[in-house]
C-alpha cells in the first residue's frame, strides 16, 4: 500500500542526498552512473528507442504494406488523414476521460478525506479496501460490470421502476456504462494521492479556522482545498492519462459508437495492419494528453508534479 501512495506522491520528493564523504570521492563521482546504467539502458532500449521509431513509422509512405515494406518518408499527411478519419474518437477519448476524472475527483475527495481525517483506527483497513480492486484482474472485474449493468440485472430493473424512466431504459452499451467503468477502474489512482496530501494536513489549522468563525464551507475552500492541491493535481493526472488511452471499457461495456482512440490504435495495429496510420494516432494521443496536462498543470500552478 505504501507502494501505491509512494508512487503517487513520492515522485515529486526530491530527496536530500547526504553530503559526500571526503573519502573515495572519485569513486563516488562515478557510482550514480554505474547504478543507473542497467535500468537506464533498459528504458532507453525498450521505451525511448521504440518511441523514436514510432515517430519515424508515423511518417512512412502509406503506399507500402507490412509485407512489401515501407518507404521512410516525411508523410505528414498521415497525421491529417488520421485526424480526418478519427477525430470523433480523439474527441470522445478526451471527453470520456475528462468526465470520468471529474467524477473520480468528486467522489474520491470525500473518501480520501474520511480515511485521512476521520477513520482513526480504521484507516489502514479502509486503505486496503481502496486498493482491493487491484487484487482482482482488471478484465475480470470489468466483465463483472457487464453483469451489474445488464438489461436483465437488478439495477436496471430497479431504475425502470422509477417514475420518469422509460421501460426501454438501459445502461449497458451506452456512454454512461463506459464512463462508469473508467471511473471504477481508475478511482484508486485518484484516492491515493489525495489521501497522501490530506493525511499531512495539520488538524490544528482546521481548528484555527473554526476558532476564527469560518463556516465549514469557508474552511474547506480557504484551508483544506489549497493545502491538498498537490494531491488533486497528481490524482487528476494519474486518472486522466490512463483513462484517455484505455479501450477495454469501451470495448466491453460500450459499442462501436462509444469506441475511443485506443480502440482505433489497437485495431489499426493488430487487425488492419496499417502501421503508419496507427503510429500517427499514437502520437496524436500523446500530444493531446501532453497539451491537456501542461495546460492543466500551469492553471493549477504546481510544478512539482513532473
Amino acid at each position: 500500500m505504501t507502494a501505491l501512495i509512494g508512487t503517487a506522491s513520492g515522485g515529486a520528493a526530491p530527496g536530500t542526498p547526504p553530503e559526500a564523504a571526503p573519502v573515495a570521492r572519485n569513486r563516488r563521482r562515478w557510482s550514480p552512473y554505474l547504478l543507473l546504467l542497467p535500468g537506464g539502458l533498459w528504458l532507453l532500449l525498450f521505451f525511448v528507442l521504440p518511441s523514436v521509431q514510432l515517430a519515424g513509422t508515423s511518417l512512412y509512405d502509406r503506399s507500402g504494406s507490412l509485407e512489401t515494406g515501407y518507404q521512410q518518408g516525411f508523410a505528414f499527411s498521415n497525421y491529417l488523414d488520421a485526424i480526418q478519419a478519427y477525430w470523433p474518437h480523439l474527441l470522445r477519448s478526451a471527453v470520456y476521460a475528462g468526465i470520468a476524472t471529474v467524477i473520480c475527483l468528486v467522489i474520491g475527495y470525500p473518501l480520501a478525506y474520511a480515511i485521512a481525517q476521520k477513520a482513526g483506527r480504521w484507516r489502514n483497513l479502509m486503505l486496503v479496501c481502496v486498493i482491493a480492486p487491484f487484487f482482482t484482474t482488471f478484465l475480470v472485474r470489468t466483465l463483472a460490470w457487464k453483469s451489474i449493468l445488464s438489461d436483465n440485472g437488478a439495477l436496471v430493473e430497479f431504475l425502470r421502476g422509477l417514475p420518469l424512466i422509460g421501460d426501454d431504459f438501459r445502461l449497458l452499451a451506452t456512454p454512461a456504462a463506459v464512463i462508469c467503468g473508467l471511473v471504477y477502474n481508475f478511482l484508486p489512482f485518484m484516492v491515493l494521492p489525495l489521501y497522501a496530501s490530506l493525511e499531512r494536513l495539520d488538524g490544528r489549522l482546521l481548528e484555527a479556522s473554526r476558532d476564527l468563525y469560518a463556516t465549514p464551507v469557508q474552511t474547506f475552500r480557504k484551508v483544506t482545498l489549497p493545502l491538498s492541491m498537490p494531491g488533486v493535481v497528481a490524482g487528476t493526472l494519474l486518472t486522466f492519462i490512463p483513462a484517455a488511452g484505455d479501450y477495454i471499457n469501451a470495448e466491453l461495456l460500450g459499442t462501436p459508437n462509444q469506441y475511443m482512440i485506443g480502440n482505433v490504435i489497437d485495431s489499426s495495429f493488430l487487425v488492419r495492419l496499417d502501421y503508419p496510420l496507427a503510429a500517427a494516432l499514437s502520437f496524436l494521443l500523446m500530444a493531446t494528453i501532453l497539451i491537456m496536462v501542461f495546460a492543466y498543470v500551469r492553471r493549477a500552478g504546481s510544478e512539482e508534479v513532473v
Partner: protein
Amino acid sequence: MSRFWRWVADHWVMAVGILVLGYLFLPIVFVFLLSLNRPTNRLSYDLSDDWTLDYWLHPFGTAGLGEALRLSIGIALLATLVAVVLGTLMAFAMARHRFRGRGAANVLIFLPMATPEVVMGSSLLALFVTLQVPLGFWTVVVAHIMFCLSFVVVTVKARLAGLDPHLQEAAMDLYATEWATFRKVTLPLVMPGIAAAALLSLSLSFDDFIITNFNSGTSVTFPMFVWGSAQRGIPREVNVVGTAVFLVAFVIVALVQLRSRRQAKALRAAA
C-alpha cells in the same frame, strides 16, 4: 432535531466515503457470485437461479486456463525479479547522489508512467517487428520489466528519502566498512520499500493486458485468456480464479499490516 443535524454534519463525509468503498467492492462481490452461478447459456452475463459449487471444485475444468495462469505467474515472477534489482539500483542513484544529468534521468523514469499503455505496447511491437524478433514469452517479459521498472524506482526512492542519514553516519563512525554499513544498516531499512515495490510489480505484471496483447504473439497469459474467451462466452471458472487471486492478495496484505502494527507496538513498548 438539531442533534440529528449535528450528527449528520459530523458524519456525512464518512458516510459518502463508505458508499464509495461500496462502489469499489460491488464488482468484486459480483465476481464471487458469478463463480457460484451456472449461466443459462454460454454468452450470458446474467445471474441465473442455478447455484453451484462445481466451478470451485473443478477450477481448471476449462481447457487452457491452467496453462494461462501458470504462464502469467512465471512472467510476473521473472519480470519482478529483474525490475526490482534494476529499479533498486536506480533508486539508490536518484536518492543518494547529486550528479549531472539527474534531471534527465528523472524524466526518463517518469515518462513511462505518463505514457498510455496502448502507445507503449504498440511502439514496442513496431520495434520487435522491425528487428524481426519473434513475439512470445521473452518479448512479454522484456515489456513487463520496462513498465514495472519506473514504479519500482519511485517506490524504493520514497522509502530511501524517508530514511535518517544519521544512522549510516553512526555506522561509519563505528568503523563499519561501506559494504558492512550497506548490508547491516541500509538494506534492512530499505527492505520494506523493496518488498512493497515487488508486490506492486507482481500485480502490475500479472494484471497487464494491453501491452501484453501487443507483444505476446501466440502466448496466452491469464488476461489474454479472459479476453480471448470473451468472444465465445467467458467460462465461469475465470471468476473462481479472480476470487481466489483476490483472497490470496487480501490475506498477504492483511498479514503485512498486522506484522507492521505488531512491530510498531513492540517499538513503543521498548521505548
